[in-house]
Symmetry: C2
Subunit: 715 residues, 2 copies
């Protein structure tokens, strides 16, 4: 057990506890905490109230200072006014206490940042760790410790709940008990001055009493660390997070397409996905899903079957199956024949399997046994609408019998629709290890989460970025030069050079303002070339004769230059002309885009999607945070409609998808190698049909933005 | 009261009831129905069991035939085997019974379509109306009639629930009672041989005992009638529908299951929207929202305020506000000052207004009163997390007091998060007319539905299609000619002509295969022209020299023709050349698209969205069913990203949106005028910046498909 792990065990499951600020007045928090500790903790002699002005509190001897306690103290709970906290904290450190929960408010949450930092400094000196300040305390059902002002200890169970909101934690302590949901621990993190979500995720990841980790998060402190630890822990047990804030827009200045396409929530969304964290939209789903993970084995495969006695419920479940990516298997003929025994002739052996309203408990039992015994079936979702002929308790018992008689470990969820009798029957199912819900959608979505988690576990998470060969020093020279010249936007030629040094093919191009420069440029990029006008006012260059293709010689360059200038002056006399672009003539490819935006929390956020001038209109893009695997790149592509462009639409040839994935990985590597780079935009990134052009993927335009100068100088 | 309305009243709220197939055996449905009628109906002497083999059932005299009953019969409930139904139905008709509920199954749902039609014919002869067959019966709380095999009568209330699924209806009868949700009537429609959703929507629209109409629907019988009636009724009271079938697999399940044809979901989605029907995703929302509509006044405006004691709950509610289009008003300074009195200094007067975890019941009362008294505030959403210092019952009472003391009719919803005490407090709130939910999202979404309904009521629903002038006879000639020639796809020139006769400007173009035809074509469309190759293999014509612009004379046409052929043979030697298109040279506009598809259930489904070659990739389109108002057209545009093209992106001029709306209406009129037309596609529809080109909106390509010949001949 690591040192940190030991401290957290003392924090959550202490043998001896001092309550600093313990009070005799029943309306004070310091009183409530001592009272709650005594109510639930088995050994009352190891609770030490600390109060300089009292001799006894709730029958316990009271000490003037923690230093007076004649026993070692695992956990100190501090509930004194903010001003007094540093002093009592110092005394804790002197006493040698390692785990300190600071309930007192009045720090960062009201602007007192300095005062909060001071607390951490004090603790550090004694190698002590702080939970809080501004917390409601901790509640643990393993050792029955209620070191909080929550009036009841949560129901015992195997779900850890970590909350960034104290009010919500109190509310949910009651709500989970009401819903018969058992918790191992309930942790309120408060201001997270020291211990935060990463520490608790790590701790519960190794905790034998916890099977599922759930969190209410408003933000994470260290995105990279969070990602790294969560990735490891979620391989051991599921992590479910409720993180609101989707509506929040990023307030920072946005200097790239990629940045403006990524709201502040996108980084959280993809970081959760990459770490295998399941994101719940509301507290209902958070605990619905946690219960399923707690009770059920993981699916061995994707094949799910819905068993119902009502067409309506079956249809709703089918919709939900599509939404939550639950694959309804085609029922093989031999299995269908077996199922027919448990339904009238007008029943259905399609999936949903409809036993009809005439289904008896023994029909449910028989059909469920049949499905559980069949190795082709991985998961079963059972729906039951209360009918006049059946007692829900009998149906529940039939389900329980079928499950225990077969003995194969397959996930089963249930939905009973009806009144009080159904509610009671569902409680019975749950206490027999079968999650039961009040809507078909919930029963399906729970299975959906299990499947999602299974897919995460099956993924290859080897990083593929290391194999990539790049010319880092070449890129480094260019970037350093720009920083020295105090420029934070690379020139187009520099950006192209950086891309090329990372193995990304780029269309050579030069902007010129004279005929002779155009000739020089054409000679350097190589014939044939294209000349086109650059003007912010001309959207369709073809319409005004502003572009000439397939220029093969110096003479043709000269003619083309003059002709474009003449055409544009004639057709668009008011357009501002910023020069003529001379570029190597490449065929028009399928327009995709790749970008990078450095997220302040999670670091490099890589983007891929449909490109072109309307990129911000259609927003057909996907994101991931680095490090990336090829599988991540594959997923990114597949999440976008641009994947269809790559596969070839309307009879086109497919493109080289592997190459696109490689370019995505290369951009990720560039971003990791150079923290100075803030944004990269490659748009369009031309993708060609296989064999149509070489290189098969080609960046037509590259933009690179560095960090603002004051920031980049710190590197 | 209309004749139909009288019959439905007899069906739901009969004074005298005959049960045909009444049985002495307790396990038979015919027994259960008599028993249920006696348990809940006040006047037992008006229940007449009919059974040729019994003298007495449950203490009532039994008759051999309904014709023997010495009293008039309002409702006949039939529960005999399918084979016997026609005979007893005939007897009902002979007896003069007008309302007949057929519980018996064994008709259309198992393929016996003809047998079901026979029932309708028998009933028609006596002007009787049938509910069913294959129903669970009806349950009415107004007259306390339980003519069903549901074991309990639903709780009394003002929500009508109409279900296409019998099993679901039984389940929900129990579930609504458990949740304290009151129903006026619960109607199971079964196979809908005669009476269907349209009849019941119409009935409950005028029913004084019903304030909210809710439905579970798998499909509608007559889409146009449904739309027409629902539009009228939803102006009087809200209609909430749960209609599954969004997934492909689900539509299959419905078809194979209840025999009802499921229209494509998009038509349902937009028909509901246009009729002001609110679509609920699950049964939870269906009743959550129904309760809100039942208890609350309609909002007078969009300004909503969230009042909370926890930041976490507030953030969740803010996310939900964005999702459900609930506008969180900016709190004016004077109001903020007043609210400050009810919170500590670190509270927040931004919206959500955060009273903090220290909020007492009197803080809630004061803040709520302040908000309700302020005329700028229209709606209030109150969130409360159970804290150690407050009793949820006290907070509930504070809310009730504030509401009743102010006396202004404003919608308030509440969310309490906590255990048993919160559940009890919420029950108290509900019985005081304040909807209370267990998550912030539910409290917000309920207000969101009220606002959505308010917006529907405020809409101008005048049809704008009548004002449009068109040359119908010109279009008619072309369409008739095609039908006579047994063609169901109009030639491009014919399609263009039809569009033009409906006032839609079209780019003139001709496909030719010789130089001289090209010259003729150029002369006819008018100079300057464009020549371009037509080939299925050439995607980017510019790249192969397959397009020449700005051709001003016959000579230039000849040169251009030869040059294109030469270029293409050189650059794309394997491309199949289908000819050369000669078209008037028009500038490239912003690419939008308009279309029409005739939906089998709802008729003409009009589409608008982003156009161009990638239309099917990006699917940026919106739909409406006809008839259309200009407001519908405006909404369609605004639902798409193409609206941004029309407004002008990246500094472009805006386009003439009114003109685009007019073109949408013109397509709708064309579709209504010609039932022979199955599909119309205009893509691209060029839209220009204001003043950039005349006409401001121009169809570059028009396709018109007629109904398959056997279908079109029936007109």
């Amino acid at each position: 057990m690591s040192e940190q792990s030991e401290v957290i065990t003392k924090l959550l499951r202490p043998d001896s506890i001092a309550v600093i600020g313990a009070a005799r007045e029943p309306n004070k928090i310091g009183h409530a905490i001592v009272k709650n500790l005594l109510r639930f903790s088995p050994s009352r002699e190891k609770v030490f109230p600390i109060n300089p002005n009292a001799d006894e509190i709730l029958g316990l001897k009271c000490y003037k200072s923690i230093k007076d306690v004649p026993h070692n103290v695992d956990l100190a709970v501090i509930a004194v006014p903010a001003k007094a906290v540093p002093q009592v904290l110092r005394e804790c450190v002197e006493k040698g206490v390692k785990a300190i929960a600071i309930i007192s408010a009045g720090f960062k949450e009201i602007g007192n940042v300095k005062e909060e930092l001071e607390l951490v400094e004090i603790a550090r000196k004694g190698s002590a760790r702080i939970l809080g300040p501004n917390i409601i305390g901790v509640a643990d059902t393993v050792k029955k410790v209620n070191a909080s002002f929550i009036q009841q200890l949560p129901k015992e169970g195997n779900i850890a709940f970590i909350s960034q909101s104290g009010a919500l934690a109190i509310g949910l302590a009651g709500w989970t008990s009401l819903k018969q949901i058992g918790l191992s621990d309930l942790v309120s993190m408060g201001n997270k001055a020291d211990l935060n979500e990463v520490d608790f995720i790590e701790y519960f990841g190794d905790d034998e009493y916890t099977k599922v980790i759930t969190l209410y998060l408003e933000g994470v402190e260290d995105g990279r660390k969070f990602l790294e630890v969560s990735k490891k822990v979620s391989k051991k047990k599921p992590i479910i997070v409720l993180k609101p804030g989707k509506s929040e827009r990023t307030s920072q200045a946005i200097r790239s397409h990629t940045g403006s396409l990524a709201g502040s929530d996108i980084a959280y969304e993809v970081a959760f996905k990459q770490a295998g964290i399941i994101r719940a939209p509301t507290i209902i789903e958070l605990f619905d899903w946690a219960v399923a993970f707690n009770l059920l084995p993981l699916p061995r495969g994707e094949n799910s079957v819905i068993l119902t006695n009502g067409g309506g419920a079956g249809v709703m479940a089918t919709d939900a199956a599509e939404e939550f990516k639950v694959k309804l298997m085609d029922i093989p003929n031999d299995l269908a024949e077996k199922l027919r025994k448990f339904m009238p002739p007008f029943g259905s052996v399609y999936n949903p399997v409809d036993l009809t309203g005439m289904a008896s408990p023994s029909d449910y039992e028989g059909a469920l046994k049949t499905l559980l015994e069949d190795d082709r079936v991985n998961n079963v979702i059972i729906l039951y609408c209360h009918t006049a002929q059946t007692d829900p308790a009998d149906v529940a018992n039939a389900i329980i019998r079928a499950k225990s008689s077969v003995g194969k470990e397959k996930p089963i969820t249930v939905c009973f629709i009806g009144g009080k009798e159904c509610e009671d029957a569902m409680r019975m199912l749950i206490s027999n290890g079968i999650p039961a819900y009040d809507t078909p959608e919930k029963a399906v979505s729970a299975i959906g989460q299990l499947l999602k988690y299974r897919r995460f576990l099956e993924k290859n998470k080897e990083e593929d970025m290391k194999e990539i060969k790049v010319d880092k020093s070449r890129a480094e020279k260019i970037i350093k030069a720009a920083i020295e010249e105090k420029r934070n936007i690379l020139l187009p030629s520099e950006a192209a050079e950086v891309a090329k040094s990372y193995g990304i093919p780029v269309v050579d191009k030069v902007r010129v303002n004279t005929v002779e420069d155009a000739v020089k440029a054409a000679n350097s990029v190589g014939y044939p070339v294209v000349l086109e006008v650059e003007s912010p006012n001309i959207l369709h260059k073809v319409d005004v004769g502003g572009i000439i293709l397939n220029i093969k010689s110096q003479d043709e360059v000269r003619q083309a230059y003059e002709k474009i200038m003449k055409n544009v002056k004639e057709k668009a006399p008011n357009a501002e002309i910023r020069g003529i672009i001379v570029r190597k003539m490449v065929p028009q490819g399928r327009e995709t885009a790749i970008g990078m935006h450095r997220d302040p929390t999670f670091g490099p956020l890589i983007m891929f999607g449909s490109g072109g001038t309307l990129i911000e209109l259609y927003k057909d893009v996907a994101f991931r945070v680095t490090p990336l695997t090829k599988e991540d790149a594959e997923e990114m592509i597949n999440e976008t409609k641009a994947s269809k462009l790559i596969e070839g639409i309307r009879g086109e040839k497919p493109s080289d998808k592997e190459k696109v994935k490689e370019i995505i990985i290369r951009i990720a590597k560039l971003a990791e190698d150079f923290p100075e780079i803030e944004d990269v935009d490659i748009n369009p990134l031309f993708v060609y049909g296989v064999g149509d052009y070489n290189p098969p993927v080609l960046a037509a335009d590259v933009k690179v933005v560095l960090k603002a100068l004051n920031a980049s100088q710190s590197h």
